[in-house]
Every structure is written in C-alpha cells, then in structure tokens.
C-alpha cells in the first residue's frame, strides 16, 4: 500500500502544481479535479473510504462542476490567457513562494519527527463518522448548518429581483 500512497500523492502534488501554473482557467480546473481525485484515493488508502467517497461526490462531482459552469458562462477566450500571462510576473511569485517554503520546512520537520508511524491506523466506517459528527462535533455541524442557511437566504435575496412585466395588457392599463 505504501507504493500506492506515494504514486497517488505524487500525482496530487503534480496536478496541484499544474493548477497554479496553467493560464487557461478551464485547464487549471481540470487539473484541480485530478488533484481532488488523487486526494480521495489517498483517503481510501489511509482507511477512510467514506471520506474518499464524499470527497469525490461533493468536491469533484458537484462543486467543481459549478466552477466550470460559471467559467463556461464567462466565455473567456485568448484575451483572458494573455492578460493572465501579463499578470503572472516573477515578482508576484515571490511572497507566496516564501510562505510555501516555510510550510514545506514544517512538513519535513513533522515527517522527520514522526517517521515510522503506520500509514493505515484503522478503517473508519460511515457509522463512526456519523456518530462522532452528531456527538463530539455537534457544535461544528450546527454552525455549518447556520452558515449554509445564511448562504441560501443570501442567494435567494440576490437572485430574487422584482419581476417587471413589459406587456401592454399586464401592466399599467390602457394605451
């Protein structure tokens, strides 16, 4: 299983790098989908099949489709690629790269400290996830529920425009 883990995480890292460097938005999103799928496989290998399935259903299967949907509507063409190329100068990369180097240092340190721990601790069943969600992490579930309700109401408010009928029989009266 270790070899599987290294292959998938390699794919994930490569795909994520491609997401950052692609100029065409749809190509970047496609690489992001690959990255999400490989993270799902990593979950599966580490003994969390439920999390893996949800990752694919929700992130790769629903949220990314909506992203692509919006980008399709924007109809970005060659000009978008050109402006993207002008925006991504070397100077822009400096600060994020510095932050990433710090994270990488920490990551290597943690790996070094905890080397030798097994990859798969135990397989987590769907039932256990549900039980811990509705006992230990109940507050988190409630808070995210509130956030989602707020989001729905906000979207409804933004999408709901007073309909104005421009029709000689339906509005105003006589001509």
């Amino acid at each position: 299983m270790d070899i599987m883990f290294f292959i998938t995480s390699g794919v994930a890292v490569f795909a994520t790098l491609m997401v950052i460097t692609r100029l065409n938005a749809v190509h970047a999103l496609l690489y992001l989908i690959v990255s999400l799928l490989s993270v799902a496989v990593v979950f599966f290998i580490m003994g969390a099949p439920f999390a893996a399935a949800l990752e694919v259903i929700i992130y790769a299967g629903a949220i990314m489709v909506l992203f692509i949907f919006v980008i399709m509507m924007l109809n970005l063409g060659r000009e978008a690629v050109k402006s993207e190329r002008e925006m991504l100068t070397l100077r822009v990369w400096l600060a994020p790269s510095a932050l990433v180097v710090i994270l990488l240092g920490q990551f290597i340190y943690i790996l070094y400290e905890r080397s030798g721990s097994p990859l798969t601790a135990s397989v987590v069943e769907a039932k256990e996830v549900g039980v811990s969600l509705f006992s230990t992490y109940l507050l988190g579930v409630e808070l995210s529920g509130l956030l989602l309700i707020a989001g729905i109401i906000g979207a409804y408010h933004l999408g709901h425009t007073a309909r104005k009928a421009y029709h000689r029989f339906l509005e105003g009266g006589s001509e």
Partner: protein
C-alpha cells in the same frame, strides 16, 4: 488479486459492453415494433448484426477535430462518460460471488462515479466552441447536478432499511420483502432521476435535436461520437441493473432458475421500460424540468427519508 477476480472483472466488462452494443439494435427494433415499422432487419437474422455494421461505419469515418476547438479537452471529453459508467459496474453484485469489487461504500461509489460523468457533457460542450454545444452543456450540467441531489437522497431510505452501503448486503436484506414495496416513493424518484442521469427521452434536453442540432456532441464524429453513444446505452444498462439491485431484490427469485438469470430478466424488463418511454413520452420544456426537480421531487425525496428513518427508529425500539 486472485485469478478468479480477474476472470470476473473481464467477464463483467465483456458482458456489459456487448449488452450495450446489443441494445443499439434492440432499441431500434423495439421502437419500430411500437410504431408498426420493421426497423433494421437486413444484416444477419432479424438484423442482429446491424450493430457490427454500425461499428465498422463509425470506425472508418473521418475523425475530425474542429480547428476552433480546445483540442486536448475535446479529445478526452468522450472518455469520461464511458469510463465513469464502466467503473460503476465494478460494485454491482450480479449474483452471489459475481462482483468485481465488493466495496463497503458501494452505493456511494456509484453516486461518485455518476457525478463524474457530467464532465464529459460539460467539457465536450465547452471544448467544441460552438453555440449549440455550449447551450447543451449548460443544460446538461444544471440538469445532472439537480437530479443527482435527490438521486442520492432517494437511495438513503434503502440504506436505512438495509443498514449498509454495500450492494451485496442491500440485496441480501431483501430476502423477505423487496424494497420496492416499503420504498415505493424512493423507487419512483430514483427511476425518474435515473432517466435524467442517463439523459434519455423525456429528459434528453442537453441534446434536444429539434432545437440544439445534437447538443453537446454536435461537433463530435467517428468513434468520439461512438463513445457518447456507447455511454448512453451503458448508462441505461447501469440504471436498470441498479434499480434491480436496490428495489427488486437483485438476483433473488424462485429457485428453478439460477440467480444470474433472475438478475438478467429483471434488468431487461427495466431496459424495455426505458425504451418504451422513449417511444411514448414527449420532452418537457427546460424550466419545467428544473422546476419539477426542485419543487416536487426534492421535497418528496426528503419526506421519504424522514418517514423511513422515523418508522425504522420506532420499529427498532
């Protein structure tokens, strides 16, 4: 992995693909029968080899990639639909012991794969760089996301009753009573969502040929079109066999026929229902389709889930 496992995988793959190929002829013959015509009856006995002729024709057509398209995305788009449907067949248990991957999250795996199938429509439509394709892709994305939501919810009643996501355990839980009786609402909603998911008439709005030429696959030719075509028939087979697994007791049946025969008989019954619907129902308008989904089917699916949960809870105490 054992040799037996490989044999099962190869067998399932071969059976499913040949079933989809057979359906191409079967559907045309059956539609012709409903409409008092003959249908394809020239190639071989009763025209069964029509599909071979079709495949040869598809392979020898010009494989054209439009110069205005996004080439890489255009080429990989048709692969998604076939690959995702074929992956879903891995978790179906056709009979005791005949199952490619007996996953504990089998049902969720199917939902995941069906949600990935949207990409072939969306990307195919976008990469074609064609107005009609783009409109078809937009419709397809909205339709499939909508119908996926309550496709998942309608199955949760089955999961509650079987107490498992594993397809084999779901079938075994129907030993005494098929789930189509206590879960009739779930069955009806899953069936409608399945038709929408397979993009069949009456829910084939993404490729409505009367308004959008051929929708998202207008620009595709040769085997790239063939992949979309194959994907549609594989989708019909998949949804029919899943209806059988979830609601009609899978391979269970009286002992005078082997289990696999019962599975095939039930699956073919639902495939014929799919074809009959194509021959008899008109296509709704797009806003009607979306309104019907969100305003009627989603509340019904939620109601079904709540009632099932409550009844099972009371029953167990």
């Amino acid at each position: 992995m054992t040799v037996m496992g490989l044999v099962v995988i190869a067998g399932v793959l071969a059976a499913v693909i040949s079933c989809a190929a057979f359906l191409v002829w079967f559907e045309r013959r059956l539609l012709a029968f409903f409409q008092e015509r003959y249908g394809p009856n020239r190639v071989g006995p009763f025209g069964v080899f029509q599909v071979v002729a079709d495949i040869i024709k598809l392979f020898f057509k010009e494989d054209w990639v439009p110069p205005f398209s996004d080439r890489a995305v255009f080429v990989i788009a048709p692969v998604f639909v076939v690959a995702s449907v074929l992956m879903s067949f891995a978790v179906i248990s056709f009979a005791p012991g005949i199952c490619a991957a007996d996953l504990d999250v089998g049902l969720l795996f199917f939902l995941a794969m069906s949600s990935l199938g949207v990409y072939s429509i969306v990307l195919g439509g976008w990469a074609s760089n064609n107005k009609y394709s783009l409109l078809g892709a937009l419709r397809g994305a909205a339709q499939m996301i909508t119908y996926e939501v309550f496709m998942g919810i309608s199955l949760m009643g089955v999961v509650i009753m079987a107490d498992s996501f594993n397809l084999k355990k779901i079938v075994e839980a129907q030993e005494h009573l098929w789930f189509c009786v206590p879960q009739f609402l779930g069955f009806a909603i899953f069936f409608i969502a399945g038709v929408a998911e397979a993009r069949r008439i009456p829910f084939d709005l993404p490729e409505a040929e009367s308004e959008l030429v051929a929708g998202y696959h207008s620009e595709f030719s040769s085997m790239k079109f063939g992949m979309f075509f194959l994907g549609e028939y594989l989708g019909v087979t998949l949804i029919s066999s899943l209806i059988v697994v979830f609601f009609f007791g899978g391979w269970l049946g009286p002992a005078f026929l082997p289990p696999i025969a019962w599975f095939l008989i039930k699956t073919f019954f639902f495939i014929i229902v799919f074809i009959l619907m194509r021959g008899s129902l008109p296509r709704p308008r797009y806003d009607q389709l979306m309104g019907y989904g969100w305003k009627v089917l989603l509340p019904l699916a939620l109601l079904n889930l709540f009632v099932t949960g409550a009844v099972v809870l009371v029953w167990q105490n």
